[in-house]
């Protein structure tokens, strides 16, 4: 692959990319820390469904949408049906794997190429189980045609559960929900909730559909009944009226990836959804951690004055937030460890925090970002890296850790534990 630099003398050609070689330093880190002995569950990582797009659009059920998508794909590629956003997440080629991974040589098998490609990086990072999400589809919540989001979600989920998840027990997913259509969202949970490898469902938070809409209540009730977590995965919309004022991707990302999750989380609590669905496990993904103490403090402060506007609440907003779950990445590695330590305390990280890498994206975090934190006990590190996920997803990890079969990990039941008010 040819990478253009600032001047031709520094243009670079890279051939023969191999994920395992790209991540050889990650493997060394894992060896030095003996991470192969630690259960690591990556709750947020990605593949590029566009690598198999011709195959996936054949799974579209609606004959009209499918006919149009197939013909348009022939000259327009995946933009035939997917939304895109401006910006260059690879920082103009500086993060080289964006281009390289697309051309990585993967031996042909009956499985889609991402199965082997995903296992390569999982092995390098010492990840035992990975919750795989799509990438370009993360903008589908912005598609003006709700029926197109539904068609793509159904096609992708069927393709994933037919071809990827059955291929290896280490690969799992929280399936994409076409949240702009509440009825289709409900049907998706009903239809796919019991499929092998499905460990929950995911809403891309970048959309303009409020979570308190009555139309979603039967879906939340069903998820609660099935014991499957509902996650909200951050993304960004540079064309959002507020975010459109930012003129660099760094700003659109820093603000945009927290903004939608913060709004949905605030709506979730203020409308008393934790009281209506006390056993529903809710996970907030890829907004980092710094926004959580911010929202806790803002909501608690307002709630004490405006209690009448959130009459369903029986405790402080921050206490509900402490019952929720959060993924680690992109963890703000501030120079002041005290700030990070306080954040961990405020969110009950020991039971509520779930490691995520977001690999292969540009701001991915290795397991060492948790393992090397000086203020965590080894037990806490193990909880965050894998045991919390094992508990909330009810994962059987005996294929990776045969000795763990039937044994309790000694974790606290988050829904019964006493939490200290802010």
């Amino acid at each position: 692959m040819q990478y253009r630099s600032s001047t031709p003398e520094f243009d670079r050609t890279i051939e023969g990319f191999h994920t395992g070689e790209h991540l050889v330093n990650a493997r060394r880190q894992a060896d030095a820390r003996k991470l192969d002995d630690v259960l690591i569950v990556d709750v947020d990582c990605h593949h590029y469904e566009t690598d198999n797009f011709a195959e996936i659009i054949e799974y579209i059920e609606d004959p009209v949408i499918k006919q149009g998508a197939v013909n348009t794909f022939a000259y327009k590629g995946s933009a035939a049906i997917l939304m895109d956003q401006p910006g260059y997440q690879d920082i103009g080629g500086r993060v080289s794997r964006y281009l390289e991974r697309k051309h990585e040589k993967i031996p042909k098998t009956a499985n889609p190429r991402e199965v082997e490609q995903t296992l390569r990086w999982m092995n390098a990072l010492s990840v035992d189980y990975a919750c795989l999400f799509p990438t370009p589809m993360l903008f589908m919540g912005l598609h003006p045609q709700a029926e197109v989001e539904v068609a793509m979600a159904r096609a992708y989920n069927r393709w994933l559960t037919d071809n990827v998840l059955p291929s290896n027990p280490r690969l799992r997913s929280m399936l994409y929900l076409p949240f702009n259509d509440p009825e289709a969202t409900y049907q998706m949970v009903k239809e796919y909730g019991h499929k092998p490898g499905v460990i929950g469902f995911m809403v891309v938070s970048t959309r303009y559909k409020p979570v308190y809409d009555n139309a979603f209540m039967k879906t939340y009730a069903l998820l609660e009944e099935l014991g499957l977590p509902l996650s909200f995965h951050a993304s960004y919309n540079w064309n959002d009226q507020l975010v459109s004022m930012t003129n660099r991707f760094i700003t659109a990302h820093a603000v945009g990836f927290t903004f939608f999750n913060a709004v949905h989380c605030a709506n979730w609590i203020v409308n008393g959804l934790p009281e209506r669905f006390p056993k529903l496990k809710v996970i907030w993904i890829e907004s980092g951690l710094a926004w959580i103490p911010w929202l806790m403090q803002r909501l608690d402060n307002d709630y004490r004055m405006r209690t009448s506007e959130a009459p369903a609440l029986k405790k402080l907003p921050s206490e509900y937030m402490r019952d929720m779950f959060y993924t680690t990445q992109p963890m703000e590695m501030v120079n002041n460890h005290e700030a990070l330590e306080l954040t961990f305390k405020m969110i009950n990280a020991d039971t509520q925090l779930l490691y995520s890498s977001d690999y292969p994206h540009w701001d991915m975090d290795l397991p060492s970002t948790i393992w090397d934190l000086p203020f965590l006990s080894e037990k806490s590190k193990r909880n965050i890296l894998g045991l919390n996920a094992k508990r909330i997803f009810n994962l059987d990890v005996s294929d990776r850790f045969p000795d763990a079969k039937g044994k309790s990990d000694g974790m606290v039941d988050t829904f019964k534990q006493q939490v200290t008010p802010a």
Partner: protein, 121 residues
């Protein structure tokens, strides 16, 4: 002090790099701006293979005398090496992180003689 052979000089022209192993660690040697630069191939951020990254000049803003923004350009002097994992940039001559000078790459001395390049460890 040990000298480790890196490459024949002719095989390491401007903009080229090579990596050598020493006691289980990789050291990357780059020729840029007519000088040799050797760094431990571990980014201080998360440990990425920084010496495998793109060489690219620092991006700077063009601000007019009236303080208005007039665009961006590449520096004509400051060259960076970029970690391919996350994009952390380092000044090739100082090894310092462009975004946070408290972080930097571990540097090694280099020797070039008789048409060959060595790194000193």
């Amino acid at each position: 002090m040990t000298e480790i052979f890196v490459a024949r000089s002719a095989d390491l022209p401007e903009g080229a790099r090579n990596t050598v192993e020493y006691e289980g660690r990789q050291i990357g040697v780059v020729r840029a701006k007519d000088k040799l630069h050797a760094f431990l191939n571990i980014c201080p951020h998360q440990g990425g293979p920084v010496c495998d990254g793109l060489l690219i000049h620092r991006v700077e803003e063009i601000i007019a005398p009236d303080k208005t923004y007039q665009g961006m350009r590449f520096s004509e002097t400051d060259l960076h090496i970029v970690c391919p994992w996350h994009g952390w940039e380092f000044n090739i001559e100082t090894g310092k992180c462009a975004g946070d000078g408290k972080h930097g790459l571990k540097r090694f001395k280099t020797v070039e003689r008789d048409g060959a390049v060595y790194v000193v460890v």
